[in-house]
Symmetry: C2
Subunit: 464 residues, 2 copies
């Protein structure tokens, strides 16, 4: 492993210690001498890593003073889910250098699989677009919105007018924006029901934008609509009907209809987070909930983070006509346009030329292989179960013993494999079984094998 790889490993190791709370703001980090000895790397490697960490704002180094964790970067500030990270760790077995961390947390697709020719052509189109002395439409470029609407018609069962499509800077920004619109419409904090367990980043975005959240349990068919009807007045509910995040259930049509009926009766808004609908490994594709929406209660949220690259920061909301549309459009105007026009032009190019469709065809096959590998290996181990494998880019692994998910995650991290505990998705403690969430979107098959090997090793250590 080259010097750069070792430095990156030390950086990742220290970041992980801050992210999981092992080190908190103000704590001294180990001296370069001590850490170099501990990791068996050159002291200069640690010095370089600390310089990078200082530059990124994780720690503060001062000539002649002890380096400390910077203010404002502790656990809870920059949680793992959204932090810069590197998933290029090597399964070379030298787990103790810190340079071979394998990041198998969910959320990262196989971005490197896009054809370089298509990618460059899209950015060339963006660079060559004539410059206009003009401001952006806050709702997005009509050309991109038309491509999105057409794609929804082909793949998701409904083709909205483009006036209903509003471009956002990622899914979290979309949920933040919708929350702001609802809050301003109501003149108070909206009460938003969320799936329990469910999508943490979405909860954080909505809470920060002023929502009061209420957890609603999830069963094998998705969110429990009976419970939803009993918890008192709710202004909105956010659901993942295509592939519940993280447990993987598909909401059947009967429950979809009763959810829409509940919303129509109570005046609530149903926010559909269609986060990874493009990836179905079994069965036929499920149309969007929005395709069933006869009364205009569904706000549909989709994007390109899972299908293309989460670093493009481009998602969209499809708003039902009426007051919700007006409220969210007013918030969009207030925050201003947020997606650079060159990005919108590049995306529209990838959609129009079919490059995205070709890319999806390729990665879908890869994901299916990975899914099958997980299923096969897990089926061979008594007491271990794999869920959520029908679609998406992650697997939920649960076990019959008493090992707590967090303990398993911590032990796996010590062996150099980062995954997420199912408990982290809970709103109320105990809503999820003990288990881990393993993202395989960016993993090679050998990396996937290594992650599973480490899991089995850890579970055996616990005597399961």
């Amino acid at each position: 492993m080259d010097q750069f790889g070792k430095t990156a490993g030390v950086v990742a190791r220290v970041r992980a210690m801050v992210q999981d709370g092992t080190l908190v703001a103000g704590d001294a980090v180990p001296s370069t001498r001590v850490l170099a000895a501990e990791l068996g790397v050159a002291r200069g490697t640690v010095v370089a890593a600390y310089e990078q960490l200082d530059g990124e704002g994780w720690i503060r180094t001062r000539q002649g003073a002890v380096a400390r964790v910077a203010a404002g970067v502790g656990a809870g500030h920059w949680p793992t889910e959204h932090t810069a990270r590197d998933a290029t760790g090597h399964a070379d077995g030298s787990a103790s250098t810190g340079a071979d961390l394998l990041d198998a947390r969910p959320g990262i697709p196989a971005v490197t699989a896009i054809a370089a020719r298509d990618w460059r052509a899209a950015w060339r189109a963006a660079a060559d677009a004539p410059l206009r002395n003009a401001l952006s439409d806050p709702a997005g470029l009509p050309e991109l919105r038309a491509q999105i609407a057409a794609q929804l018609g082909l793949a998701r069962g409904f083709a909205p007018e483009i006036g209903r499509v509003v471009v956002t800077a990622g899914t979290a920004e979309a949920l933040s924006l919708v929350t702001e619109g609802l809050r301003n419409r109501l003149g108070r904090a909206p009460v938003v029901a969320v799936e329990d367990p469910g999508y943490r980043s979405g909860r954080r975005a909505m809470t920060s934008a002023g929502a009061t959240l209420v957890g609603v349990p999830v069963d094998g068919d998705g969110i429990d609509v009976d419970v939803l009807g009993r918890i008192g007045p709710v202004d909105a509910v956010i659901v993942t009907p295509t592939h519940q995040y993280p447990l993987g259930s598909v909401m059947p049509v009967a429950r979809r209809l009763s959810l829409l009926d509940w919303a129509t009766r109570t005046g609530a808004v149903v926010v559909e987070d269609d986060y990874d609908s493009e990836f179905r490994h079994r069965g036929s594709p499920v149309p969007a909930l929005a395709a069933l929406d006869a009364t205009g209660v569904v706000v549909h949220v989709g994007g390109f983070s899972k299908t293309l690259d989460p670093r493009l920061r481009c998602s969209y909301v499809v708003l039902p006509p009426g007051p919700v549309h007006e409220a969210v459009a007013a918030s969009r105007l207030a925050r201003g346009p947020v997606v650079a026009e060159p990005v919108q032009i590049a995306l529209a190019h990838l959609l129009r030329t079919g490059a995205l469709r070709r890319h999806l065809g390729r990665v879908r096959r890869d994901y299916t292989h990975r899914r099958e590998r997980v299923a096969t290996r897990v089926a061979a181990v008594a007491g271990l179960e794999a869920r959520a494998l029908d679609g998406g880019l992650h697997a939920v692994l649960t076990w019959s013993g008493r090992a707590a998910g967090r303990d398993v995650v911590a032990r796996m991290a010590r062996s150099g494999v980062l995954v997420s505990a199912l408990e982290e998705y809970e709103v109320s403690p105990g809503s999820a079984p003990a288990g881990i969430v393993l993202g395989y979107g960016a993993l090679t098959l050998p990396q996937l094998d290594r992650a599973l090997d480490v899991l089995l090793e850890v579970l055996r250590v616990r005597g399961d």
Copy 2:
């Protein structure tokens, strides 16, 4: 003029009628036959324009029914300040076709002036950057933040650690984000003092994010700090000390110090909107207020909308160390990263290679010529006065007669020249003199002459 230009003109004309409230949601738009006759264009031109307006969501056309303005797009929903518009109107004298609208509203820089070679090289760098299977840092790419910090050190008199620099999707998003952070820190709506007259889009962003605004008058030295001290508890104040928007005053050092002293004593945050500091046409550059900040009370907001292109949607906040940093960083994490990495890479490239500096050198000369043209022509007219000309991309024109700014704006629009009324910047009615704001960033000298000719014509019509 070709068919496309005529269609664009009709589109712009109808949009303007919706934006200024002449047509409101639900109103029938004129039939294609009537409008074609009125504008002296082919009926097909109007049909094409209506199709585009329908596609963009401004109007709803239905086979066999009257076309109407769509819900949610009336005045107040998509005000002129942030709406897609076209400033390429021709000064050909044929004012009645609607195809030669001259958009001289403030806010649009000379984006087409950037060297095509530099622009393309930046996007090539973005496209060629190695794809990593990784998520973005919500605070922005370290490389871009380091370039921003270095530029601030060179041009604005302070060089923050890059951990204090957080990238945002434009200035409105920055102000929205800071407001959200303050609201969550306080657990209630923050009271934010704003300049009166002042920046409307900023007020809208902060109100939508949950702030309660209080207007504070502006005099020849900027915001009145004595009044600020008397209006009761204030959590934050937003100021434009380098070039008050729109009136143009520069805040002298004595007032800067008393503003900082007030903030330090009361615990308030001072948000410095450094919107067009790069353009000083007279005198030496004024350092940022943040450069004087010894106690960590200033949040500095800057960006590339005025220096480069407002469609890049990339700005930044520089946060003081401490609880405000933590609160705003938590909001940034909650909303997620919002600027696409390719955009950040392209911007960092433009900064690192000096392309942005070369571009600024060119446009600064252009802006100085335009500023001089305004000053010379206005000086020749008794009773007309030009202000705010020492910097920036706009002029404020006031007159001694009784003509109301809004009336003058409406009359100029009827002659095909769009400008903004000074009243539109007011928080309390009467805080600004009667006048107009004319943006010259994207105007050629002949276009500028035409705008001034129309103003003089209109003022004479009113008997001034």
